[in-house]
């Protein structure tokens, strides 16, 4: 990645983060001038957690998507299409509505366990370097199973309001989270991203196949385990707080690899920055759209991401048939 592109991505992320905190300028300025304490409270208790969540969840999805795509040697592997986010959602729902533990730490542990289960199931079903059809079918099956089990868990929940309670969260939402809740997502995500960034060189070595990577001394089995665990921890913690948000983990690495000459490992950091920028921009769009109510952010990313996914599948098919 050129320095100019890196700088541009950093600036874009930072700019969107500030925009997320401070727009609309006039209203925030007026509020701060009139009642400083209230203005600051709105900034730190409403805006900051939301912007932090968009930043960390977006970066986590971008990084996890880049790592999973590199590992499976497949540009269609991403946390949502592999069933990781659905597995995490199932884990969190079972923890909250069946076992009755609603504390953020319990939800996070439940979501991480669900994400881990989904990823190991995917490895067992699709194999280590999965062909596109096998990968998508396995991911689809895991997502469908996790979705059905989530609905079953909500139906069997003691609370009659479980469906209503969970609806907004299941659709993916960054609204009304406290700073403490944001920390429960952002800290594991930051740690997972930092640890994933260490794996850049072995993931690049995988470009020439597992045998070559092993001949360089990279332990591919350990690499696989590290990526599965880090992705599960980071994505699971974010899903526990914000619900499932799709397509960012698919789109961000694809754009990131265009900046790194196709190298999948070097694309990890730009994928994080692009993922963070995408989610911050989506959240701004959700907040500023004149719809009269706030849409769940997961709906927006799906509305934008699904056509991109369809284009990608058509593009890959066109290239295969050429």
């Amino acid at each position: 990645m050129t320095r100019r592109a890196a700088l541009l991505l950093w600036s874009l992320g930072a700019g969107l983060f500030l925009l997320s905190l401070l727009t609309p300028w006039a209203a925030i300025g007026e509020l701060l001038a009139r009642d400083r304490a209230l203005g600051l409270a709105i900034l730190t208790e409403l805006r900051l957690p939301r912007a932090l969540l968009a930043l960390s969840y977006g970066a986590m999805l971008g990084g996890a998507g880049a790592a999973i795509q590199a590992l499976f040697a497949n540009p269609l592997a991403s946390p949502d299409l592999t069933g990781t986010t659905s597995g995490a959602a199932l884990g969190a729902v079972v923890t909250a509505y069946i076992f009755g533990f609603a504390a953020p730490v319990a939800l996070s542990l439940g979501a991480v366990a669900g994400a881990l289960g989904a990823l190991f199931l995917l490895l067992a079903l699709a194999g280590r370097r999965a062909e596109t059809a096998t990968l998508l079918l396995s991911g689809l099956a895991i997502s469908a199973l996790a979705g059905a089990l989530t609905t079953l868990a909500l139906a069997l929940a003691p609370s009659p309001f479980a469906f209503y309670d969970a609806y907004d969260w299941l659709m993916g939402s960054l609204v009304d989270r406290s700073l403490a809740q944001a920390a429960f997502a952002a800290l594991p995500a930051a740690a997972a991203i930092l640890l994933l960034l260490r794996l850049s060189a072995p993931l690049d070595a995988l470009t020439l196949g597992e045998d070559v990577a092993q001949s360089f001394g990279h332990d591919v089995a350990r690499l696989r385990l590290e990526i599965v665990c880090l992705t599960a921890v980071g994505v699971g913690a974010c899903v526990a707080i914000c619900g499932a948000i799709g397509f960012v983990g698919l789109v961000a690495p694809i754009f990131a690899r265009r900046l790194t000459g196709g190298h999948p490992g070097r694309a990890l950091l730009p994928a994080c920055l692009i993922g963070a920028s995408l989610l911050l921009a989506a959240d701004l769009a959700v907040r500023l759209a004149p719809l009269g109510r706030t849409l769940p952010i997961g709906v927006v990313t799906a509305l934008l991401g699904a056509p991109f996914f369809l284009w990608l599948v058509a593009h890959m098919r066109w290239r295969l048939e050429r």
Partner: protein, 246 residues
């Protein structure tokens, strides 16, 4: 002189029986054998691929304790597959073979040596299989390691490039003191260029020695089921049917 390769007790579960191999001096060693005879497994076991058993010393050094950059300087491995998982450029693919801080001219030298300069910026998935083979061979040669482990490097190359490759490898052995261990199916090419020939069969070394003697001896017919007749390799003649003489 420290042996280029000293491997003892090598093995890979179900594919390679316990094997010792010593390459004492710079040599071009060709591994021949039928499909499934253990050529790739022997290369894998030396390169540390797939949890092999045994001990390996390259120039007296155990590669197991080395990091990726030091391993690139010590040996390189070219797999038989010629695919790449991601569409990087030919130049970047060659760079993957170099340790960090390698000479800036190393990539240009390899591009020039394998006549790839005009293809340097092309994505390797858009090259022909033969061109891609040359890029991946260039990657394996780039760091000028002490030992080259090459699995069917001549496959997919046209006849001219097969000869050029073998000439280059022989020159590297003579001039740079490298050892080359390469698996190959073309017995004539092996006979012409190898300093030493190893015949693999059933996951073990069946014969090891001077190429001309081995190619003329009984090992090739016994292992491959072919013999040299009329200046070419042909399937062994079926034993005469005693009923046909009645």
């Amino acid at each position: 002189m420290t042996p280029r390769l000293d491997a003892t007790g090598l093995g890979l579960a179900g594919r390679l029986e316990e094997t010792d191999l010593l390459i004492g001096r710079p040599q071009l060693v060709c591994l021949v054998g039928p499909n499934g005879s253990g050529k790739t497994s022997l290369l894998h076991a030396i390169a540390g691929i797939g949890s092999p058993r045994g001990e390996v010393r390259i120039d007296g050094i155990d590669p197991a304790g080395l990091g990726p950059d030091a391993r690139r300087r010590l040996f390189s491995y070219l797999p038989a597959g010629r695919e790449a998982a991601w569409p990087i450029s030919a130049r970047d693919a060659i760079a993957l073979g170099l340790p960090a801080g390698a000479q800036a001219g190393a990539i240009a030298a390899m591009l020039d040596a394998l006549d790839l300069t005009g293809l340097a910026g092309r994505r390797i998935d858009r090259l022909s299989t033969g061109e891609r083979s040359r890029v991946l061979i260039a990657r394996a040669l780039a760091a000028q390691p002490r030992l080259l482990l090459l699995d069917e490097p001549a496959a997919n190359l046209d006849p001219l490039w097969q000869l050029r490759l073998m000439e280059r490898l022989r020159a590297q052995v003579r001039e740079q003191g490298q050892a080359v261990l390469l698996a190959i199916h073309d017995l004539d090419l092996a006979g012409r260029y190898a300093d030493r020939l190893i015949v693999m069969h059933g996951g073990r070394i069946a014969a090891d020695g001077e190429p001309a003697a081995l190619l003329a001896g009984s090992h090739i017919p016994a292992v491959f089921g072919i013999e040299r007749r009329g200046g070419a390799w042909r399937p062994l003649s079926p034993p005469a049917d005693p009923r046909s003489s009645r």
